[in-house]
């Protein structure tokens, strides 16, 4: 299959722990899940019936959006025109408090996606879902998948238990760098904290909005904790983060660093340069200005055509129609974002262009 367009963010859905994942649990966890009825781990971030969670034409009858392989194939490949797609499973395994349960469920998700999706369609790839609750167990899971090149990245939530730059996560990034797996930070929360510094919002609309700020805090953490100095080959992908907040964010980070550098002397370059080198971002949602000039100006302000990655965010309802590319994007961005940038960002894709 020739590679013409790589969709970096689609969402196969786990039907349930007691259903989809059960075959992939060991005897102990099978018994726990069945006898204690452990299920219903859809993240609070994405209630399946809310409009954003699934475009109406992408909802199977009697099933969660993204739960039907055939429908996903039709949507992502036939309708939206991707030649390949990266599966990012959002399910509550990453939010589980018991680290061993988290580890078992993450393993089950990865086994399931490999067996029932990646093996069923050679155009599909996946992120490794890992239990960041216990970084050593996350490293074990990475080691388990390292030999399977269909796994091309590591998936973590934008809001976890501690900010991602912290030292205790560094073994995860060491493994990521070793196996050429970018760290994919995806919108979603483990709800350990209020989703933002202002407290717990009433509406999901507010929650979704503040995800953008959560991503920004994660980038600052990764930069200032020195992760990119320690792991110079590590790339980080922001998935479903929004794009247009980037320029003002980068400038403010530069402004702060220039004056407070003494706190973090291991950060040897200004944050905007580090961001352009190490951070990549999927295009849906884009959060665009209302006109072409505005879009061009924001792209100019971001200052790099390597950062953008094509993604539909299927089956999340980010746009109508068949064109997942945000309107008004300059051609030099569009031409890089569908193939070149994804291939550079996810080296394990190893697809001939």
């Amino acid at each position: 299959m020739a590679v013409t367009r790589i969709d970096c963010d689609i969402h196969p859905a786990v039907g349930g722990t007691r259903t989809t994942l059960l075959p992939y649990l060991d005897d102990h966890w099978k018994e726990q899940v069945v006898s204690r009825a452990i299920d219903g781990l859809d993240l609070t971030s994405y209630p399946p019936n809310m409009p954003l969670s699934g475009r109406p034409d992408w909802r199977p009858k009697g099933g969660k959006p993204g739960s039907d392989l055939g429908m996903v194939q039709k949507g992502a490949f036939d309708q939206l025109g991707a030649s390949h797609a990266i599966c990012n499973v959002l399910y509550g395994a990453q939010a589980v408090y018991d680290p061993y349960m988290a580890s078992a469920f993450c393993k089950a998700i990865n086994d399931w996606i490999a067996a029932e999706w990646l093996s069923a369609d050679s155009r599909l790839r996946a992120s490794i879902v890992v239990p960041m609750q216990a970084p050593d167990l996350a490293v074990e899971e990475i080691e388990r998948r390292a030999g399977d090149s269909r796994f091309v990245s590591i998936l973590v939530l934008a809001q976890g238990e501690t900010l991602l730059g912290r030292r205790h996560f560094w073994p995860v990034y060491q493994a990521a760098e070793k196996y050429q797996l970018p760290l994919a930070i995806h919108a979603g929360s483990a709800y350990r904290f209020a989703p933002s510094s202002i407290g717990w919002p009433s509406h999901r609309y507010e929650y979704y909005f503040v995800e953008a700020q959560a991503f920004q805090a994660q980038i600052l953490s990764l930069i200032y904790e020195g992760v990119f100095g320690k792991f110079p080959n590590l790339k980080v992908v922001l998935m479903e983060s929004g794009v247009t907040w980037l320029p003002a964010f980068m400038w403010r980070a530069n402004k702060t660093w220039r004056g407070v550098r003494v706190e973090v002397p291991w950060v040897e370059r200004e944050p905007a340069l580090i961001i352009r080198d190490h951070i990549r971002v999927t295009m849906q949602p884009f959060d665009a200005p209302p006109d072409r000039t505005g879009v061009e100006d924001v792209v100019d302000q971001i200052g790099s055509d390597k950062m953008f990655l094509f993604a539909s965010d299927y089956p999340h309802w980010q746009f109508d129609g068949d064109d997942a590319i945000p309107p008004h994007l300059p051609q030099h961005i569009v031409s890089r974002m569908c193939v070149d940038n994804p291939l550079e960002t996810f080296p394990r894709l190893k697809l001939a262009a």
């Binding site: 020195g226 100095g229 220039r258 004056g259 407070v260 550098r261 003494v262 002397p265 291991w266 040897e268």
Partner: protein, 141 residues
Amino acid sequence: MARHVVARTSEIPPGGNKVVDIEGRDIVVFHVNGAFFALLNRCPHEGAPPDKAACVARLTSPEPGVYNRSRVGEMLRCPWHGWEFDMRDGQSWFDPKRFKVRSYPVVVESGEELVEGMAKGPYVAETFPVVVEDSYVIVET
């Protein structure tokens, strides 16, 4: 080039500074690690006065948690936004090519040299009474 006598060396203790007016410009003279340095007393960012800067070590680091200090007291952290400048040449840390504070050459001469070596001038001596027994800081603009 004009030479301006701006202070007796004894006026500016180590770690201290003095601000002088030279031809309408405020110039700050620092004394650190046995030497004197002169800078325009105005940060290129938003005009803050470096004479109130924190004088700190040059700080680098090979990795998180390691703090390497050198040239203690020779880096200025601007009193407003904290931009770091090298006292010796006024260059900023974060972008030495594009951002710097104007710096001026400084020499120290004894009163004797000054009194006898008037040919080294022209120098502005009327702002400063010179006696042969003292040493003087001279800023060249």
